[in-house]
Symmetry: D2
Subunit: 250 residues, 4 copies
């Protein structure tokens, strides 16, 4: 049974910090944000988790396999090495959006994202046991994105197309299934899903083809951790490539 | 007169590399991508330019103030420190999308994004002189995003709203004005624009309010470099905040 | 009983790589080396271990608490994100130099540091159980280094003094006790030691005062991991500061 | 005529910060220090300068080619992205140690390295013109270090040997010539020198062979910037390798 553990990582009082005492150089902010994300990707990733940059000041992680102590240490280490601190909320649920809802509510309960009083809040529940079917990851990409877009259009128009497909997918998967879909670069989208069937994924692909005129394919995997599930999904996506199919399960 | 210099940074043969000999760990790829972007943000940013992560394997930079030698060294330094190399194309035009079109065509002419034969291609034209009105930057954000979204909704639904507003804005600005709009985290979008009037920006804000139900405001600045223009735009956006207005020019 | 687990991290074929096809920019090499070290410090450090930069192309880590799988993943992740790969050797012994001797021999047995045939070699033995006295860490610093050196001399002469004290200490501790002492910045030296007595440390401090005219003090801790032992040592060193003593055990 | 521009980069009030409110995790400090150094290496390095990690909390840079504005921006950018700030002092002299003496005195005049009152101090003089002989760089390495040490001894004993040779060289070059020698990893030492003759370098090599039983060779270059001089020195060192000589000038 699916039991996704979702963590919200929210930078404390970040908006005000970026303009105090004067607006800070934009490229310094971009550097800070992307390096913080990179460090989370390493820390969470080498414990079997996944993290997505989302809005950078708010990042969403799937953290099955990471316990309270792992989160504690992450928070301490960020505070030791960055000029900002982070608050953490953790939730567990069969449906990813519900887990994130709990996680977010825990952070919100500790104070506003723009409150100077809140610093390094941390509350959550954790998945104790680890089941082989705890996490479901779907790895989507765009059919022949290089041939259709990258090698043919200017980069911004390529980006608009990919982005348009992503916007359509993210909304559909969230509304229909409570799944969370994240753009991860290139033409790739990774979704954290409940336990869905072949037809559910086919439905999503059809929807995006109709709605945004973007042709997706998807590999799906499950596992005890996001990495296990995601790695299986990547292999399944390779199968799509070789077989010419649109949906493959690991 | 506007003369935006746009650089396309494209990782060479990245797609195949990510799955050779086996799919690589997703969080290592995320780390690599975001650190490459961070390094570009530092290098380009401390020379007065701006770079946007776009799709990470393809990044778009506004590089007024950086000459051929600066680009050469950037390419060499990336090759010395990362397991991947980058190709660069540079174009100059009054309309940003046209400059990017030239930049992209130069990279495409050197070979496919997924060709193992192309490595560290580099071609471009450069803006010699520097005029005070060469670059126009518009810095948009969402009115009270913290109160309306971040402190109230779960993070994914906040993200869907912000993303939806961004998708609407990016498309409108590109189609109406040949401007390039990039999400830069939080509730912020930075657009590289031709020389536009107050009503043009008001038109964009109205469109997004109608189309996506997201209320934006914008500060606009111009300068010899993206940093100069963007820094002025940030101050203008602060003016919007204090004055309660929707469009301010520096 | 002490049972230090030592890991040698050696960059594969690094010397030749730095001059192929032409000498690479020195500052790019410095960046690469220090970032690789930083990543090891995070990975090993947040699992309770310690790593020292040593010669940068060869780094020495105390890895009690990290098993074979942790080392495997470290090696894979470095290979995914850097233009170089690393070989790893691991050894366990009551005397740190003996553990490193085994660790080094395992890497050497796989091929020369400058062989293009050796890549990602990995061999070792691991400490299974974890005892509270497995690791002994001594944290030395220089008495009033700021007042005597930093605020008074030019930085190079300050450095020569600190360096001179370090050279004297490292040699003494290695020869007398088989302990490994590493300069970690500022006026700090961290030593991985066998189980030593108060007088042994007093002997080292006296030796350095005589030999190099540098006045050290030291805090000593022990634990199941380097972090546990080192953290206790830091607190003991704080005790020296408050008490005005030269040797304190946690 | 030589005119080396030396910059001292000193972290403000770092010692107290590392133990406030409690001692911080050592591996976080190591990460912070080495990443700060890496960023300086990129910033200074891609402007033609060299920076050395020295004691990490105090770093020494050769900054011919970087003006006041470059230093200003460096200081601002560090403050935006790290939890610590840096003070900068700059000096120019024919003899490197004299330039560093001036640079250090300027930082010391602004307050103690452990004063909470001093933050982002910056004072200095700059080399206006750029002459082809402004900077002299000598790049030393150890003859057959891999064969004699790395592939044969345990890593700590290799390190002791290299370190011993370095300690001997740094002291000799400073006392005899006012030159500053820095270990840069592996078996490499880079020295910033006044204008020295072949016999001066031969004298240094002989001294180290006698004093520390370590056989060095050296390539020497000069140029308008450290990179120009250092790159020529690297090529000269390659010449030593091919010719079997001990001292080569570019």
């Amino acid at each position: 049974m699916t039991a996704a553990q979702l963590t919200l990582v929210q930078i404390d009082n970040y908006g005000p910090w970026t303009v105090t005492p004067e607006p800070r150089r934009e490229m310094d902010l971009q550097t800070l944000q992307s390096r913080l994300f990179a460090d989370l990707a390493q820390y969470i990733g080498n414990r079997g988790g996944y993290v997505f940059f989302t809005r950078f000041d708010n990042m969403v992680a799937v953290t099955n396999g990471l316990d309270r102590r792992d989160h504690d240490l992450l928070q301490e280490s960020v505070g030791n090495r960055f000029p900002v601190t982070v608050s953490l909320g953790v939730g567990v649920d069969e449906v990813p959006i519900e887990a994130l809802e709990s996680a977010t509510r825990r952070v919100q309960a500790a104070g506003s994202a723009q409150s100077s009083d809140r610093s390094e809040a941390f509350a959550g529940e954790f998945r104790d046991a680890a089941g082989d079917e705890d996490v479901h990851i779907a790895h989507f990409d765009v059919n022949d994105a290089t041939g259709k877009y990258t090698d043919r259009m200017n980069e911004f128009d390529s980006f608009i197309n990919i982005e348009h497909g992503y916007a359509s997918l993210m909304k559909y998967m969230r509304e229909e299934h409570g799944a969370l879909s994240f753009f991860v670069g290139g033409d790739n989208v990774i979704a954290v899903c409940p336990d869905l069937a072949h037809d559910d994924y086919m439905g999503a692909i059809d929807h995006v083809a109709d709605d945004a005129d973007v042709q997706l394919k998807v590999g799906v995997g499950s596992g005890a951790t996001p990495h296990d599930a995601g790695y299986a999904a990547k292999h399944a996506l390779e199968d799509c490539r070789y077989e010419g199919t649109l949906v493959e399960f690991a």
